[in-house]
Amino acid sequence: MLSIALPKGRLGEKVYDLFERAGYACPAIREKNRRLIFESRAAGVRYFWVKPSDVAIYVERGAADLGVAGKDILLEYRPDVYELLDLGIGRCRMAVAGKKECDPDMVHNLRVATKFPNIASDYYARLGRDIDVIRLNGSIELAPILGLSDVIVDIVETGATLRENNLEVKSEILPISARLIANKTAYRFRTAQMEQIAQRMKEQVEKQ
């Protein structure tokens, strides 16, 4: 039986739909209750919901054999896992945003507020720029409005929140989507099972 960590929330539900269509259904997961673990002996899988940012840790440490995590989480925490497939869902962008009147190129020591300090640091290091990283855990858009930072580095989906707060995208860092990840040790002992899941998921992704 393979353990699969799913990210809680809307993305997780879409991901489970993909697993179901790929032949790994577990009907109990759709029941409204407080259970945390759902098992389907017929499909040979066990699902559990975890906080999206924790999926990679569960997989890296072997508590889950497989999992689905956003590319943003994988780049930020750099877990030692296999990244078997780009699921092509949960698409968004990692971007630099700031007030319309702000020109980041004109600021010497740019103050960057973000939930993703490693991604932000790597991006500006590649540009050869010194920055001051201000690590926040939420409401990132507030930082430039209140003068806490010059810009933010954050995930942008539609850009509606930015527009409503008089902010705009200054530059795009990279596209983000959900990835199927695997524990490296588990993969080496259960290769056929994991490869079969990855292959069936790939077929579903290509149908989308």
């Binding site: 072997g62 030692d80 990244e83 780009d86 080496r188």
Partner: protein, 362 residues
């Protein structure tokens, strides 16, 4: 305590195995001159070491690495081969706590005119080391000559090559293709690297898949080593895995890692490190591996119940001879026993032998 006993048993098994093949025990101090690590810090797992001033003012360090010390003190005479084994504690920063941690390592090094037989012997000993811990293991082999030839054909910048190898290690062929497309590399060269990322499994199957790929160096060595391993003990658990890479400044040729079912991460790591030898001014080659004994805790047998099997209770009314006689009898029967005047709060026991007046045993 149980884990320490388990760890000691494994160390004894490994030492006996290595001695059988003529690897002599290498003894070393816990300390080494700091200068060695500051000069070669790019070859260490972590560049942070516990440093202190010795009584003569010399800056010393608690060993974060064993291989550098063995090379430093070893001979470098053409035609001579030095084979040593060790079990030592090293001191490194834990990636999870960012604090220093003591790690017990056992391993071996073969330094000198290393040839195909030595590679074969060390790979076999690596497999037997894993088997000494658990039958459920795999030893994964890769070859940096093969990987470097495939990456070299892409015509990427040094930074992009590092990124390509990181993607290969993650079997991330989707981003690898994007990287290649973005940098305008030859599609066939990209296909070769993607095929290597997925090349894992029985040696014969992987070799068959690789033979069809153009421009790979090191294939002859792979074929020869694989043929030597055919029919050897644990042959079926020595696999090829080209998602395994290694630091090209340190390693060359074969690199390998060992995995045990139920233990997350590699418990054994090694390879040919001629490049490190060159950087340290040595002319000869080298191959070796280390087993990370601290990672085996997850496999250590759990105590069935309690710290001891018997708790023997006595008081002033019980003659000392009677207590001694009961202890001698129970220990002679192979039980673990603790003699106490009252029940200790934290001691877990399975049975009680109460020698006190009116006492009963259960």
């Amino acid at each position: 305590m149980r884990f320490l006993e388990y760890q000691e048993k494994i160390i004894l098994k490994l030492r006996s195995l290595y001695r059988q093949y003529g690897y002599l025990p290498y003894r070393m101090s816990k300390f080494e001159e700091y200068e060695l690590y500051s000069r070669y810090k790019e070859f260490m797992v972590s560049d942070r070491v516990v440093a202190f001033s010795d009584t003569n003012g010399k800056l010393m360090a608690l060993k974060p690495d064993v291989t550098l010390s063995i090379i430093k003190s070893g001979s470098d005479v053409p035609g001579v081969k030095q084979k040593v084994c060790y079990n030592e504690n090293v001191y490194r920063v834990s990636p999870s706590t960012h604090r220093f941690k003591e790690i017990m390592q056992a391993g071996l090094e073969c330094i000198g005119d290393v040839d195909l037989y030595d590679v074969y012997e060390v790979v076999c000993l690596a497999a037997q080391s894993l088997a000494a811990v658990s039958e459920r293991f795999v030893l994964c082999l890769s070859h940096l000559g093969v990987l470097n030839s495939a990456v070299g054909r892409l015509g990427l910048t040094e930074e992009q090559e590092r990124e390509a190898l990181a993607l290969l290690s993650a079997k991330n062929t989707h981003d690898l293709r994007r990287l290649c497309e973005g940098s305008g590399t030859d599609r066939a060269a990209c296909d070769t690297l993607c095929a290597l990322a997925g090349a894992y499994g029985r040696r014969a199957d992987v070799l068959a898949a690789l033979r069809g790929l153009p421009g790979l160096a090191g294939m002859e060595e792979l074929e020869k080593l694989s043929a030597l391993l055919d029919g050897q003990p644990f042959d079926d658990r020595i696999l090829f895995d080209f998602s395994l890479s290694g630091d090209i400044h340190y390693y060359n040729g074969f690199v390998f890692k060992g995995y045990l079912e139920g233990v997350t991460g590699d418990v054994l790591s090694g390879g040919q490190y001629d490049n490190l030898m060159r950087k340290m001014g040595r002319r000869s080659g080298a191959i070796g591996f280390a087993v990370y004994l601290d990672m085996l805790e997850q496999l250590a047998p759990r105590p069935r119940s309690g710290d001891v099997e018997y708790l023997v209770l006595y008081d002033e009314t019980v003659p000392t001879e009677a207590v001694a006689a009961q202890m001698a009898r129970l220990t002679a029967e192979g039980h673990t026993v603790s003699a106490q005047k009252s029940v200790p709060g934290k001691l877990r026991y399975r049975k009680v032998l109460d020698l006190r007046k009116g006492g009963s045993s259960c």
